[in-house]
């Protein structure tokens, strides 16, 4: 609804970005993963962009349920940032202006980042890219504005933003540079390279660009973990498996032995504790049961009831959190949009005549945007409230 205006043409920088990245040339390494369409991207993206109903998570799972496994879906999640703008046209009449900033970064990153375990990345990528190209055309001047905001005069300053991104991979050396960020001046300075570099997300491990310290943050998805478990089992169990062996079997690009080692350690701890208690003291188990029966006799609240109530509260909190998160995202989106409009007005009136008209126009825009977002927020919360029990009805199928 709101950010239609973002969809304009004139995509110079973005096109450049995309072309400089070697995305189209990325090979399909994982035929085994099956056909991964680009739609999930858009839907995943939808999470980040405006949602059409309270729980962003719902949309996610609904999209993933459309495809055979969550495999791709979760693996994509770590990239959703990359693909933020990419397939939003697949999903939305909704604006995705917020998403776009990750677009350039994502595209540039993608070929270099091979988030571990995601061999189907290239497939995702391919699908996403085509749509992304379309979007790029539309979202370019948003990008311009973002460039203005983000970039400073010179490369030195732009590396400061790398620091901001806490890039642990190849840019880690830039951390040493001093953070002399002066007032960012709106200038049209080498937007594309700095933007792309800046927006490289930290969440995924960068494989080849990793500086090898192994400090890159690794996000373990359920699918990745499943692959891990299989590898461990094939090596004879968690005790016998070695990180090196597991690493070899998993054959996941970007996964370092450091990651595997720490994960294996966690895995062992998680398994070790339940097991002794399972085969061990059955007597201990009986006492809670006695408690239940005694409490029930007293008419008190049993374990079942307590758990149920606890669960209720937790579910409510989760719903509230979903709403809040959507609002947070939307607010940020609005803020950016307003800023963009403001900047455009400023640059448009470079002759510098009516500053009053600027502020008037800006406040008009603000009111309009606020009204729009209020509507949406009201809509969202209404939808959420209508389904108090669980969000499941919203999804065609659970994501199991």
């Amino acid at each position: 609804m709101e950010a239609r205006p973002v969809q304009r043409t004139g995509s110079r920088e973005l096109s450049n970005l995309v072309r400089t990245s070697s995305i189209p040339s990325t090979p399909n390494t994982s035929a085994a993963e099956g056909q991964l369409m680009s739609r999930p991207l858009g839907q995943t993206y939808h999470l980040l962009s405006s949602s059409n109903g309270g729980a962003v998570g719902h949309i996610c799972s609904s999209s993933s349920s459309g495809f055979s496994t969550n495999l791709h879906y979760s693996s994509m999640v770590s990239h959703e940032k990359h693909y933020s703008g990419s397939s939003s046209n697949a999903v939305s009449s909704n604006d995705s202006s917020w998403c776009h900033d990750s677009l350039p970064g994502g595209f540039l990153d993608f070929p270099e980042n091979h988030p571990a375990g995601i061999q189907n990345n290239s497939q995702i990528e391919e699908g996403g890219i085509t749509e992304a190209f379309d979007d790029i055309q539309k979202r370019s001047d948003w990008q311009e504005w973002a460039d203005h905001l983000i970039t400073d005069e010179d490369p030195l300053l732009s590396t400061n933003w790398n620091d901001l991104l806490l890039e642990t991979s190849s840019n880690s050396d830039s951390k040493e540079k001093s953070l002399q960020i002066t007032q960012p001046q709106i200038a049209q300075q080498q937007p594309s390279p700095s933007v792309s570099v800046e927006l490289r997300p930290v969440s995924t491990t960068s494989s080849n660009s990793n500086n090898g310290t192994g400090k890159a943050r690794m996000r373990w998805t359920p699918e990745l973990h499943e692959a891990f478990v299989e590898a461990v089992n094939s090596l004879g169990g968690s005790e016998r498996a070695t990180p090196k062996g597991v690493l070899k079997i998993m054959k996941v690009e970007g996964l370092t032995i450091y990651h595997v080692k720490s994960h294996l350690q966690k895995y062992r701890t998680a398994r070790y504790r339940p097991e002794p208690s399972e085969c061990g003291s059955p007597e201990r188990k009986l006492t809670p049961l006695e408690h239940i029966t005694s409490l029930d006799l007293k008419g008190g609240i049993g374990i079942t009831e307590a758990l149920r109530l606890q669960m209720e509260v937790q579910k409510q909190l989760h719903e509230q959190l979903e709403i809040q998160r959507n609002l947070q995202l939307r607010i940020e989106e609005q803020g950016k949009y307003l800023q963009m409009m403001f900047e455009k007005q400023n640059s448009g009136l470079a002759i510098g005549t009516t500053s009053t008209s600027d502020s008037a126009a800006k406040s008009e825009q603000e009111d309009k945007k606020a009204a729009d977002s209020k509507e949406l927020a009201a809509e969202e919360t209404r939808k959420c409230q209508e389904e108090p029990e669980s969000p499941q009805p919203k999804r065609p199928k659970t994501d199991n």
Binding site: D163, L179, S203, A270, L289, L317, L321, I331, E332, S390
Partner: protein, 324 residues
Amino acid sequence: MKFGKEFRTHLEDTLPEWRDKFLCYKPLKKLLKYYPYSSADLSTGDFPDQIDLRTVFADTTNISSSAAGEDGVVVPGARPTEDLQGSFVRILNEELEKFNDFYVDKEEDFVIRLQELKERIERVKEKNGSNGEFASESEFSEEMMDIRRDLVTIHGEMVLLKNYSSLNFAGLVKILKKYDKRTGGLLRLPFTQVVLHQPFFTTEPLTRLVRECEANLELLFPSEAEVVESSNTVSTSHQNHSPRISAETSSTLGDENLDIYRSTLAAMKAIRGLQKASSTYNPLSFSSLLKNEDDETVTAENSPNSADLQSKDEAEKEDTGPSH
């Protein structure tokens, strides 16, 4: 000040081991308070009312520990060449690092634990279904009760992690706003863009895990059965349930669940607090966007649309949790 208070209150009630993983909101506010006397000026001791930033950050172990790697002991004002913006950004970066580390770590734990639980369920199902190895019905139900408790526990922790993410984000946005307001800088928007893509804020994988958990619980422990059994307790309001849970849960569910339950309530409270109107009007604040959620926040802007939002209000009230 409202957010700060909500934030601090929440910190007190949340899981103990998480407390220092949150944003150091108060110290950052203090840092801003002493602008335009920047940290650099302060450290040179030129000003009579010099504020020792060491004391400002002294009680937040998170700052010093997370940044300890840099030069041993980190003092925000220790760099003479660094102005306020520099140190501010530096501190925020460190905070982001801290959030990300914590979040990703926890996320990994959840993935592992949930997987384990699912395997456990499978094993129990098999045991029960195939050759009835379970000695008695009670053993089976014990095991199931255990699994259920673990599922609820992990669900609770996951939701709390989401809350962690959301609250920290809100705190960051607020402190950035304050920064811009106070210094006339333009830090907020670009930095927010960075934050939006940080791992700790991209909670979609976690949301999926939560949904999975809920689905499993629904499947294994359908709520209808309980409603029938405990009809007397269900009829009472939620308000009455909470004290009963806290009194007796400790004996039945253990301290862990109690902690989580308390933290969950605290989180609910914090969220509702955030949704209330504050003293400064902002068309893009939670309260404006969620107007009519609370009856107390009736303002001129609320009234025109109150009609169509009335029904929403009702529905909202019914869903109000024990914290209200």
